[in-house]
């Protein structure tokens, strides 16, 4: 246990600290509950996007396999050369319950039409075109998913951190302070009893002294 001076002022200070710690604990518990509510909402959205991503990936892979099989790898490679482009993503930030979370937004949708994909539609089969479309849809979901997953991760980390703080206050700090208060109180009571005993003895001595003088 931390070295404690068993004084009345120390006792008052410790009591004040307990009160402050309990208030902090309540606030942290409230924050944790609010973060959990937010977390569950984000979790639902993440699951929805995750399922959508899995479905899109499966469909795109299948379309790619069919296009590769029917049109050949060469045709696909050639079309792929024409469609290369960059994806513009905007990165900003926001705060949820005091937690900084990055916000990822699409600068421009990666989904293009057959006529704006970079190649001439007359020379590319609809299988290749539909495959490109499916992969662009994956990109679209991936950007949304990146945003929501980062948010989920940050909220999760914050909930863990808050939980650790609540536990530390609840199971370490407050019990330690209570122990110190109890120690100070015991020490002060002990001192009070000693004082009382000493005073009684002094009183007894004075009284016996006075009685002797009266006799003598």
């Amino acid at each position: 246990m931390e070295e404690v001076r068993p004084t009345r002022s120390e006792l008052l200070e410790r009591r004040e600290q307990i009160k402050l710690a309990e208030q902090g604990m309540d606030l942290l518990k409230q924050k944790r509950d609010a973060l959990l509510i937010e977390f569950m909402g984000v979790m639902d959205e993440t699951l929805r996007l995750s399922e959508s991503l899995q479905k899109n990936v499966a469909e795109a892979q299948y379309a790619l396999a069919v296009a590769k099989a029917v049109d050949g790898t060469v045709a696909l490679r050639s079309a792929g050369m024409a469609t290369q482009s960059e994806i513009v993503v905007d990165m900003t930030g926001t705060r949820i319950m005091g937690v900084s979370v990055p916000v990822v937004t699409k600068g421009e949708s990666p989904i293009r039409s057959s006529f704006t994909r970079g190649y001439s539609v007359t020379g590319v089969s609809s299988r290749v075109d539909e495959t490109a479309d499916k992969f662009e849809r994956i990109l679209d979901v991936i950007i949304e998913y990146a945003d929501i997953e980062t948010r989920l991760k940050r909220l999760g980390e914050e909930i863990q951190k808050t939980n650790r703080r609540v536990n530390a206050l609840e199971q370490v700090t407050v019990p330690a302070l209570r122990e110190q208060v109890s120690y100070i109180r015991q020490t002060l009571d002990e001192r009070a009893r000693e004082d009382l005993f000493r005073l009684k003895k002094v009183k007894k001595k004075i009284e016996s002294k006075k009685a002797a003088q009266a006799r003598g």
Binding site: V70, V74, R77, G118, T122, S126, D129
Partner: protein, 365 residues
């Protein structure tokens, strides 16, 4: 450069219009095409490895041995099939008579357009040479050496300049498309100029008289009709208010005229297009797959049905005249179809595609 003249290739000793020698050789080669039973056996195989073993002893053996040195997978098999196709096409070209060579090079000219587009795309995107080489298929007049020289060009402009210097047939289209490319910075316009050029160029080359010329013209016309029909169907899902529909029409078709194309492309939905096409040679093929289209919601269903129809028609032209161009053309497309079928089976096996789905994609004639 070997493309400026058609007389530079090795040729059989036969006269310019004697098809006897070439057709006899082609019939021999045709007899070695894989049967439907053999393909059924391949579909039933459990793995790509077993499938490749099963193909031992076919025309593909040596190409497979060369390509599968580093292991058996679908991509290596694809390379082997591609090499086999290029070699077969080159072999056929080596013994065709002058007229047949003229007709076949015209019909295979689309491969030159394909390769040129690949080179232009790679140059536009500044892709490395190795990556570019994987996207080439020298099945047309441009030889691997020609393609390598074009691929080594620094940029789009240099490719156009080389094409003009060599006097390639499509140089004028490249020059015209390059001006538009410089203005917009988009390669699609240059590619479209090449596609349009090819159909016009091929139509002009096949406009002479004669039974063989007529037969080749018929193949080209069906090919162009199919391309125009697929475009009409693709336009149904596009915002046609913002697109110049007319520019995507390719000349050289037979049944799909420019007027019909314009009417079809402005229709409100696919059902209306199918209704209007009833009575044309393509109506039935499209109608047959209309339910499948509704199930899959994919234009590629119609495209595959039209490819199927085109393949059946092209493979059937050999029946009319055993001493005409039909034998060579029919064989070249049959070979191409066989390679596509093999690729579908191998790829289907590699990704675990159900057998029914594999069979649906095959064109068995």
């Amino acid at each position: 450069m070997s493309v400026t003249t058609t007389s530079s290739r090795n040729r059989s000793p036969a006269s310019p219009k004697d098809y006897g020698y070439a057709n006899a050789r082609i019939r021999g080669m045709r007899s070695r095409l894989l049967s439907r039973t053999f393909l059924d056996g391949l579909i039933a195989e459990q793995s790509v490895q077993r499938l490749v073993q099963e193909m031992d002893g076919t025309e593909y053996t040596s190409d497979l041995e060369d390509a599968l040195i580093h292991g058996i997978d679908a991509t290596s098999v694809d390379v082997a099939l591609r090499n086999n196709m290029v070699q077969t096409f080159q072999k056929i070209m080596s013994f065709l008579n002058a007229e047949a060579e003229y007709l076949v090079t015209t019909l295979l000219g689309r491969w030159d357009i394909f390769n040129l587009k690949t080179i232009l795309r790679a140059k536009h995107m500044h892709l490395p040479l190795d990556e570019l080489k994987d996207g080439l298929l020298p099945a047309g007049q441009l030889t691997p050496v020609d393609l390598e020289a074009l691929a080594a060009a620094e940029d789009v402009r240099t490719v156009v300049d080389i094409a003009v210097t060599w006097g390639l047939p499509m140089a004028s289209a490249l020059r015209e498309g390059h001006a538009e490319f410089m203005r917009t910075g988009e390669l699609a316009s240059l590619e479209l100029a090449l596609d349009r050029y090819y159909s016009e160029w091929a139509k002009a080359r096949l406009s002479r008289r004669g039974a063989n010329m007529r037969m080749a013209r018929k193949v080209l016309a069906t090919q162009v009709d199919v391309a125009n029909l697929v475009m009409v169907l693709r336009l149904q899902s596009a915002d046609i208010e913002t697109i110049d529909v007319d520019q995507y029409f390719l000349e050289g078709g037979a049944d799909i005229t420019r007027e019909l194309y314009m009417v079809l492309s402005k229709m409100s939905d696919i059902d209306e297009v199918l209704e209007r096409l009833r009575g044309t040679p393509y109506g039935r093929a499209l109608d047959d797959v209309s339910i499948k289209y509704l199930e899959q919601n994919s234009i590629s269903v119609f495209e595959r049905a039209l490819e199927d129809l085109f393949m059946r028609r092209t493979l059937g032209i050999a029946k009319g005249d055993p001493l005409g161009i039909g034998v060579a053309v029919s064989y070249l497309w049959a070979k191409q179809n066989e390679i596509t079928n093999l690729r579908i089976i191998v790829k289907g096996k590699a990704v675990g595609m159900p057998e029914d789905r594999v069979r649906e994609e095959l064109i068995l004639v």
